[in-house]
């Protein structure tokens, strides 16, 4: 098992947000809003199996969907932002910092 940290960062404006990891729903929240002064709306951490994985993020009311495929080998941090109507991902192996 390995730790996966997902941070919902910029561009959320009272949206309903759904996340699926390998097709299984892991997150749903209504009225999600980015705190602009730190660029963060919410975050979630979970333990999951090592190996290939895919994360899908959707804002159903806005008909915005994006996904990313990656290989989990060690602790992984994924940042998710909505930029110009598209889901953008940032993947790194160190924690995100907010200011």
């Amino acid at each position: 098992m390995v730790l996966l940290h997902i941070a919902l960062q910029d561009g959320f404006r009272n949206n309903t947000v759904l996340m699926r990891l390998n097709g299984k729903r892991i997150y749903r929240k209504n009225n999600l809003k980015t705190r602009t002064q730190i660029g963060l709306a919410d975050s979630v951490e979970l333990e999951t199996d090592e190996g290939p994985a895919s994360l899908e993020v959707s804002l159903p009311q806005e008909r915005i969907v994006g996904s990313i495929a990656f290989v989990l080998k060690s602790v992984t941090y994924i940042g998710v932002s909505i930029i110009e109507g598209e889901v953008q991902f940032k993947v790194q192996n160190v924690p995100f910092g907010y200011l």
């Binding site: 910029d10 602009t36 002064q37 660029g39 924690p95 910092g97 907010y98 200011l99």
Partner: protein
């Protein structure tokens, strides 16, 4: 001459402080003249808001004003901004970008920003001259249509705003309010070697900043978990900040604490979104990730010191309503701003730029970006002042409502070399809205499609003018877009038939002009002369009686109708008898469009019951008619429909083909569209490359479906 009306209300008569020889070298002159000036006289003695009205002798109604001159010193923005107020409610803020004149200490520029909406301040240009060892500024306002206004100002302060900072700290934490700029080896070679304080950073940004260290705050205020929540921080601010007041003031409380509830991932926060007065306090967390120097760093102690210092300046920037560098274009930016993802600014995240924080600090000069300095120095002061405008509300405001005519140019044109239309040929023109400033401008994305945002006047052959009134008013849920300098928006404008009837149909010469309503006034297009040719042949004359009816007008305006049967019958006659005329192309398109898809038609059944009937599509007929209209006579079609509508109709046609699995035909339609537009020249002007690229992309998308 008017006595200085501002003399009773000054806060900072003696804040002309701390200009060092280094500052003078930065300015390249022996005297710095940037700063805030107070109004001393207005000539002629009229109201700047409504120049036709003389100022009243009543003292309460006299005009007050200041200007902020920004032409030298640290990071000059070559800008003058100002405000006028009269009475309690009449206040206007304005900003002009300056260019140096040939004479020394003289500049001119256009006013590109005014606030608030609906003001009556109509000047468009300024000429600024500054003279004397005790500088006196003269501003000539012009361009509002009547006489110019000359205002004289005297220097009030070298800085744009006052600012008082109090630094408190949690027990066992220490405030970091200064650094040695050369302490860490990763820095620009050109960086001044100095002890840099937060006070100096903000002085260079234009604030008459003072700072003092307050005292320690017990860690118990953070509750049992020894971590600070936003509420606990706000409570501590109210209890321990010696200057706390429930009102806007040019002061900030900066608190150096250990950890936030969020843990080590939060290095600092402007926590104050609580209550009516936001942005008065911020906190820096000394046990967060900002205290963890990367492994192998050559000077971890200096790294930590620098990061704490940087974070304090960053959070204080939020207190002055600055957004992060990558959030400039979000929501309610005070003027249209571009994101600055790579900016070497206090408001960026060092580790988010290309090359990470190593790259950031190797090129960082401990400053704010020009966009940020423009905001700090020249935005309406309530947007900037801590405790005033709510956070992020007016890093920002509805700039688009403030557009003045000089920011944009509106061109009305026909997509043809000679503006002559055949008899019965629908008149569709094109609007082009261009940002003519040197700044990005925000505009409603659908402004050229929204008939409520414009007035179209048609002057007929008889000399009488009428307003074109469309059959339908489209209410767009319009987003905003940024138009970069010289960038344009385009839209077609159908004006052939409307609720007033046929405004531009009889043979003769017409003049058309559009006024676009931009909140601050109307932006007028060029007047466009259009000629309608006389009928050609007996058939046109005979058909015209049936053609110029309300039902045909509506069918043309809406690209078809399933219920206006008499109008459709007329168009079939037109198609059959005038197939070689331009109206024949339009008739083919409309009749083909009507049978392209199934449609629901509201009908009455027994006892007045309403129900929908399904009118089945006739795809074969649709394909024949649409191909005849769009593909078989492209040179005429693109001119008669206009570039924008021709592309729109052809895109719609090819999508329809694709939906019927006729991929090759869809690809062919896009190829024809590409060839037609690529070969097209109007007054030597080509179709934009971006449009052609879009066609290529669409074609490629179809091809991928094969």
């Amino acid at each position: 001459m008017m006595k200085d009306p501002g003399s009773q209300t000054r806060e900072n008569d003696d804040d002309d402080l701390d200009i060092t020889p280094y500052d003078y070298r930065m300015a390249g002159r022996s005297q710095i003249i940037s700063g805030v000036y107070s109004l001393t006289s207005v000539s002629p003695p009229v109201s700047p808001f409504i120049p036709e009205i003389p100022q009243l002798p009543d003292q309460k109604r006299k005009v007050k004003g200041t200007i902020s001159v920004d032409v030298d010193g640290y990071y000059p923005q070559m800008t003058v901004s100002g405000s006028f107020s009269q009475g309690i409610k009449a206040v206007v803020y304005w900003i002009a970008q300056l260019k140096a004149d040939k004479s020394p200490n003289s500049w001119t520029g256009n006013i590109w920003y005014k606030y608030p909406d609906g003001h009556a301040f109509r000047y468009k240009k300024v000429q600024l001259t500054i003279e004397g060892t005790t500088p006196v500024a003269r501003v000539i306002f012009s361009g509002q249509g009547s006489s110019d206004l000359t205002c004289t100002y005297k220097l009030k302060s070298r800085y744009f705003h006052p600012a008082k900072f109090e630094f408190d700290w949690e027990q066992n934490e220490a405030p970091t309010t200064s650094i040695e700029t050369w302490a860490h080896p990763n820095r620009p070679d050109t960086l001044a070697h100095e002890t840099l304080t937060i006070q100096k950073v903000y002085q260079r940004a234009g604030f008459n900043a003072t700072q003092h260290e307050g005292g320690a705050v017990p860690g118990s205020e953070a509750g049992s978990n020894a971590k600070w929540s936003d509420i606990e921080l706000h409570d501590a601010m109210q209890s321990y900040w010696s200057a706390f007041k429930d009102k806007p003031q040019w002061s900030i409380w900066v608190f150096f604490a250990s950890l936030h509830d969020m843990g080590s991932s939060l290095g600092g926060i402007m926590f104050d979104e609580i209550g009516p007065n936001h942005r008065q306090g911020c906190a820096i967390f000394g046990k967060s990730f900002i205290s963890l120097a990367p492994s192998g760093d050559p000077n971890p102690t200096a790294w930590k010191q620098r990061m704490a210092f940087w974070t304090a300046c960053h959070e204080m920037g939020h207190c002055f309503n600055l957004a992060h560098s990558w959030q400039k274009s979000l929501d309610a930016s005070w003027i249209p701003l571009s994101d600055e993802d790579e900016a070497r600014s206090f408001m960026n995240y060092p580790y988010n730029v290309s090359g990470g924080e190593q790259a950031f600090f190797s090129d960082f000069e401990y400053r704010f970006s020009d966009q940020e300095l423009l905001f700090l120095r020249h935005a309406p002061s309530p947007f900037v002042q801590p405790g005033n405008a709510a956070w992020f509300d007016n890093h920002g405001f509805e700039g688009a409502n403030e557009l003045v005519n000089s920011k944009f140019n509106l061109v009305l044109r026909a997509n043809r070399d000679v503006n002559v239309f055949e008899y019965m040929e629908p008149v569709t023109l094109e609007l082009k809205l261009t940002n003519v400033t040197h700044q990005p401008q925000v505009v409603k994305e659908k402004i050229l499609s929204d008939s409520d945002q414009m007035t179209v006047i048609v002057q007929g052959p008889d000399g009488h003018s009428r307003e074109y009134v469309p059959y339908a008013h489209r209410c767009w849920s319009s987003g905003m877009i940024v138009l970069d300098p010289e960038e344009s928006l385009y839209e077609s404008l159908y004006i052939y038939s409307g609720t007033n009837g046929w405004d531009i149909a009889k043979p003769g010469n017409y003049m058309v002009q559009v006024a676009l309503h931009l909140g601050d006034g109307d932006l007028l297009s060029n007047p466009l002369h259009v000629q309608i040719s006389p009928p050609k042949g007996e058939a046109e004359t005979l058909l015209s009686g049936d053609f110029f009816t309300d039902s045909v007008g509506r069918i043309l305006a809406f690209d078809g109708s399933h219920v206006l049967t008499s109008g459709n019958d007329t168009l079939r006659k037109v198609r059959d008898q005038l197939g070689n005329r331009r109206i024949g192309l339009h008739a083919n398109y409309i009749l083909g469009n009507e049978v392209a898809t199934d449609s629901r038609v509201l009908t009455t059944r027994g006892e007045g019951r309403l129900a929908f009937d399904i009118k089945k599509a006739v795809p074969k007929e649709a394909e024949i008619l649409l191909r005849k209209s769009l593909i078989e006579n492209t040179k005429t079609a693109v001119e008669s429909f206009g570039h924008i509508d021709y592309k729109y109709y052809t895109d719609k046609y090819s999508d329809w083909l694709s939906g019927h699995r006729k991929i090759s035909a869809a690809v062919h339609a896009q190829e024809v569209l590409y060839d037609t537009l690529a070969a097209r020249r109007v007054h030597g002007r080509k179709v934009l490359d971006s449009v052609l690229q879009g066609i290529e992309d669409k074609k490629a998308a179809y091809t991928a479906k094969r």
